[in-house]
Symmetry: C2
Subunit: 318 residues, 2 copies
């Protein structure tokens, strides 16, 4: 079984970019033509809304898949649409994987033993139904919340090893209140640093041939000075870095998230890419009729900003 980290590095290499696009579809921002069509066919309810989300996602994936190797799906936006929304979530996963994309389920689950096992079955595989095996949301990797500790992560670790899946443990989030607990000083260091040590430990047995572990960390793009410290505590972890673009973080802060080899980080942007056509400059240039062009342009700009950072790191490191 190929390690998740090796597979990730290969896909990032094929697309020549460590960028992920977040498929976080908020109904109010979807192009009206897509909503109108879905509502007229499936009704103006959760089913119609979910169908609109699925079509939107498919068109985004078609637009972005030549340029990026990873998509991150924030499950909350699908959960909000009820069972139909999760059907759209499941179908989006399949659609993206068929196009060669690695799919990260941003689920941030965390629970006690049997419950963690049920979540792991749901998202990494597999559940037994009288002798046959199924997995409704079979993503390539998930994000997890660490508050419940090691045994809440164990069922996911087991599947990372068995099925070549990946985990990204939430270490530092992008929101202002992340300071409430994540920045608390616990025995000489911040809580998020203690979490980072555990992430490093949990990932030790799952290091692939490129030297990276299947157990990564979520570290928000707006904490570059902390990222430098976390990089030292988790040298073999891939950092999944949300909050690029919309949450105010630009390319100049990205350096500490990468290792000297130019690997070790996936920079993720959601709203700033998939709803780029809502932003006046792109909107003026392309109009709503050509919203996919705005998405592509916003992605290509981000991609070249990140490529410049990685290029400098590699020149400096070599």
């Amino acid at each position: 079984m190929k390690s998740f980290a090796d597979r990730l590095i290969e896909v990032l290499g094929e697309r020549d970019s460590p960028v992920a696009v977040g498929l976080d579809p908020q109904l109010k921002w979807l192009p009206q033509e897509i909503k109108d069509r879905a509502f007229s066919r499936h009704g103006k309810g959760l089913k119609g809304a979910s169908q609109a989300v699925l079509e939107f996602n498919q068109r985004i994936i078609d637009t972005i898949s030549p340029y990026v190797g990873v998509v991150k799906l924030q499950i909350a936006f699908y959960e909000a649409l009820g069972p139909w929304g999760l059907d759209a979530y499941s179908k989006t996963i399949g659609y993206a994987q068929k196009r060669g994309l690695i799919v990260i389920g941003d689920i941030k689950r965390g629970d006690v033993e049997h419950t963690a096992e049920a979540y792991a079955q749901a998202h990494l595989g597999e559940m037994e139904i009288d002798g046959s095996f199924v997995c409704p949301y079979s993503v390539d990797a998930v994000t997890l919340n660490p508050y419940l500790g090691g045994d809440s992560v164990a069922p996911f670790l087991k599947r990372a090893e068995r099925y070549g899946k990946g985990l990204f443990i939430l270490v530092k989030s992008t929101n202002p209140s992340s300071r409430d607990f994540q920045d608390l000083r616990c025995g000489g260091e911040r809580l998020c640093e203690r979490v980072a040590r555990k992430v490093n430990q949990w990932g030790r047995a799952l290091v692939g041939k490129h030297g990276y572990s299947a157990v990564g960390a979520v570290v928000g793009a707006n904490s570059p000075s902390l990222a430098k410290r976390l990089r030292l505590l988790m040298p073999r972890a891939f950092f999944l870095v949300p909050g690029y673009g919309a949450q105010g973080a630009g390319p100049e802060g990205l350096y500490p998230y990468f290792n000297k080899d130019g690997f070790g980080a996936i920079i993720s942007s959601s709203r700033a890419i998939i709803f780029a056509y809502q932003n006046p400059p792109w909107r003026r240039r392309y109009g709503m009729r050509n919203w996919e062009a705005a998405v592509r342009e916003a992605l290509l700009r981000m991609r070249s900003e990140v490529a410049e950072v990685v290029g400098r790191i590699r020149r400096r490191g070599g």
Copy 2:
């Protein structure tokens, strides 16, 4: 709008018991007759399995609703069954609420701003779809994970106030690894005590006429000495206390979870009640044909154990 805490106290009073039953249906333990019927009608897949879960839940609810006022649904066991599983989750919520039960969605979500808003819409209400409002999983209260801090809780607080809903913030879980982070010493006290202080603060504006807040805490039944301390830090919070029975905690440890008025805790048991017929003593007495009798007997035994504790506290306090 009546406060959640007042509504809770009234329902607990009507049923004369501060007990909650956890509807955590694991397919492998469901009565075979229910599974066979569901599989023959809906196929041996996720749809059939979800239908079996729904019938099982309905029969459990019919059995227990004269004796308890609260059910807790661990969403992981529904999520594991895919979109059909969440359809069963949604229908179970409605079925329980029609019988006058308060339904707690044990979701332990926690995420950043817009995402937290989407989760709050999904579970407490409501989402707008072109002018109409829907909520797929409208429970009376949810559990939340605190790791992301105050702004991750804010969208739920807003709805607690607006719609009379309740929150239970995870403070201390029942699993052995809860010590990994929850017990860390941070500035002279444990992390879970810091979380408890925040819970108390978040709940201050939502205190009802009985003196209890709509913002409660999850505190595992196997930490009685810690519970004593947490009770002081959160005097107005209802404790949702999982792990009674199956996870080894018995009635003697329950005293510190309650306030001196005999209120302030809901003791929850899941597997030990709903799968009571799997346990040899009940199984021998009732056999699988009469599994609901085993469920009722196990619940009545727990109910009287807890009643004795509450009775002693009230006599002592009065």
